[in-house]
């Protein structure tokens, strides 16, 4: 007997053929979006974690840090152009020993320290010029030349607290030498280097941090749960029996996560500004972070849900990623106030670049830094999205 459509003698191609569902159908995407939105908004836990939780967080962190303008130990970026001199090294050590500043070395090849700091959103810097050690040595031996030590401090004039701490630290370090001779003066720049026109408060850093938290939590856990639960409850099987395609389903979920992220970000911005007077610059460059961040974390969540055999395992793996990331990436506590040894580990987490990028836009107006962070997030989002799409199976072999 000859059949009209023959089929499956032994497998000849390893992959399932693409569903010939035709081009992406906006009507089906919208139908899936609506039903998912209804389902989501009728779940009290989901509404709490999406809308109420960010609100509570910003209120809580705002209250904790209200009035706080700078931490007791501030990061200080030091370019030492006199690094071979023993006196300079002693000064550098004394500076570190004050405990008021955390020192970060800046390469001697950086020509324009002011520009460098602006590009990296750094508030406090110090340049130790060549001959500094010899000058100080002479001064402490009573060979007063009349000119002050030409050390140059860079401060953010609108962050006077941090600036004061830096100046105090430098003065304390020089006191180390004062005990051996006459007092040493040092030069301050006539004007500040930062272009900021406001005095950043901790809440200004907290708002982008909490937006980063929302970008991580909502898309990632929503997709971990959805993917694992749909698989467990065989909902993918039911949906695959309709004309809805895998691409349409994915798009509707990503659209939903974008909507929720925008809503959470709006709540966080509005609450931070209205309740605590947070100063945030909402520039157009925020948008790519609100788009690519959720795309990355939704893809990551889908990967976890797809690769986990059980829904429970997916939840545990999701938490293993999310918890260290949210605490170490600066979502709740600015990375700059973390211990020096911990700070490099913050840069390991993708969320760091989301938060850093949003802070670069909303706090520092630092476009260069924001674009750098955005480039990294774009690469991560593209890789994770492609991996999620390839590994996610709408049907089984």
């Amino acid at each position: 007997m000859t059949l009209p459509s023959s089929s499956t003698s032994a497998p000849s191609t390893p992959r399932p053929p693409a569903r010939s569902g035709g081009p992406l159908n906006p009507g089906r995407v919208w139908a899936d979006f609506v039903v998912y939105a209804r389902s989501y908004m009728r779940s009290p836990e989901a509404v709490f974690f999406t809308l109420l939780f960010p609100f509570i967080l910003v209120l809580m962190f705002g209250a904790i840090f209200s009035g706080s303008t700078a931490p007791s130990s501030v990061p200080l970026y030091v370019q030492n152009q006199d690094s071979t001199n023993a006196t300079t090294l002693a000064f550098y050590h004394a500076l570190s020993e004050t405990g008021l500043v955390t020192l970060h070395n800046v390469s001697a090849s950086v020509g324009n320290m002011s520009l460098y700091m602006s590009q990296h959103s750094y508030s406090n810097g110090l340049v130790i010029p060549p001959g500094f050690g010899e000058e100080v040595w002479n001064l402490t031996k009573g060979h007063q030349s009349g000119a002050p030590v030409p050390v140059r401090i860079y401060i953010n004039p609108f962050d006077q607290t941090s600036a004061g701490i830096v100046e105090q630290a430098v003065q304390l370090a020089l006191t180390h030498f004062n005990q051996q001779g006459p007092p040493v003066a040092y030069a301050l720049p006539p004007s500040a280097v930062s272009s900021q026109s406001f005095q950043p408060k901790t809440i200004d850093y907290e708002v982008p941090g909490l937006i980063g938290f929302a970008i991580l939590m909502n898309p990632m856990f929503a997709m971990v749960n959805v993917t694992a639960e749909y698989k467990k409850e065989k909902l993918f099987k039911a949906l695959s029996l309709t004309p809805l395609t895998k691409g349409e389903w994915l798009l509707s979920k990503i659209l939903w996560n974008w909507a929720m992220t925008f809503l959470s970000a709006a709540i966080l911005f509005a609450t931070g500004v209205a309740v605590y007077g947070a100063h945030v610059i909402v520039g157009p460059l925020i948008l790519p972070f609100l788009i690519l961040g959720p795309l990355f974390f939704a893809s990551l969540g889908m990967l976890i849900g797809t690769l986990s055999k059980k829904a429970e395992t997916a939840g545990i793996i999701g938490n293993l990623f999310a918890f260290p990331m949210m605490f170490l990436s600066g979502a709740f506590i600015p990375v700059s106030v973390m211990p020096g040894w911990l700070q490099p580990y913050a840069r390991v987490w993708p969320l760091y670049y989301v938060i850093d990028g949003i802070q670069a836009v909303s706090v520092f107006s630092n476009t260069a830094q924001a674009l750098f962070d955005l480039a990294l997030i774009t690469i991560m989002a593209a890789l994770s999205f492609v991996a999620a799409v390839l590994l996610f199976r709408w049907r089984e072999e």
């Binding site: 009209p4 459509s5 010939s20 089906r28 139908a31 039911a238 004309p243 395609t245």
Partner: protein, 310 residues
Amino acid sequence: MSADAVITVEGLAKDYGHLRAVDGIDFRVLRGKVFSFLGPNGAGKTTTVEILEGLRRATSGHLSVLGLDPWKHASELHRKVGVMPQGFRFFDKVTPREAVRYYARLFGVRTDPDALLRRVLLSDKADDTYDKLSGGQKQKLGVALAMVNDPELLFLDEPTTGLDPQARRAVWELLRELKNEGRTIFLTTHYLEEAEQLADWVAILNHGRIVTEGTPTELIEKHGEGPRLVLQASPELVSLLSQQARLGLTIRDGTIQIPIHQKAVLLDALNTVARSGLPWPEINTERDTLENVFISMVGEIDESGEVRGA
């Protein structure tokens, strides 16, 4: 392929690693008929159905569903068939009315949700969310969603599992209506009474192979013991009846069973009983059911479809 066959399967096999779940089966499903696939859990029913629905890929064999290769043309096939998968589940916080609208939008068809829900006896729960529905109501929603696109072929995998007897009979009535409308129904079940009530053709599957197939009547005639007279009797009456060898008497479960091959045999047996003057508390006739056939070929199964003692 016969002109009126909507499903044709030849030499279908499916392996999961070293396990052969379906072992070279052949069958046809004719248009407008109810085809029932019977078998215990693990027999290969759901694997076969999922291959026919385009959800799984066959390891080997030739198959055609509505003239299409289910795996290669799944999308086209899904527009023409309605499927209620085994253990149907839906989104917890969505109501039946919203679910029907959702499916109608996905299929791009106009459907009156209220009329459809009324048809499956679910209109009174149209606005309750799925997680508030009983097991039977959830099954009814599954049947409703399988009908949204007005399919010519319906795959119903265990559609009445978990339903109370009343709800089960209501679903049976609905399936009869669908059949009367000319739709073809591929019904997978482990409820033998359901198959006997609804099916035009039954295939019994065990260990991945079809052990027998035919109309329920044919199967009963072919594999059953035929009609018999059954009576509870005293030892004296048993002794009396045993003397008549041509009656072919057997004693089973404390009752006397006499095969009724001919009317004369039945009359002889009744005459003997009447003339004896001995008491006989109960007398009636019995015939095999599909369940008897199934048990003789596969073994007895429990409510969940597992073979007892397996």
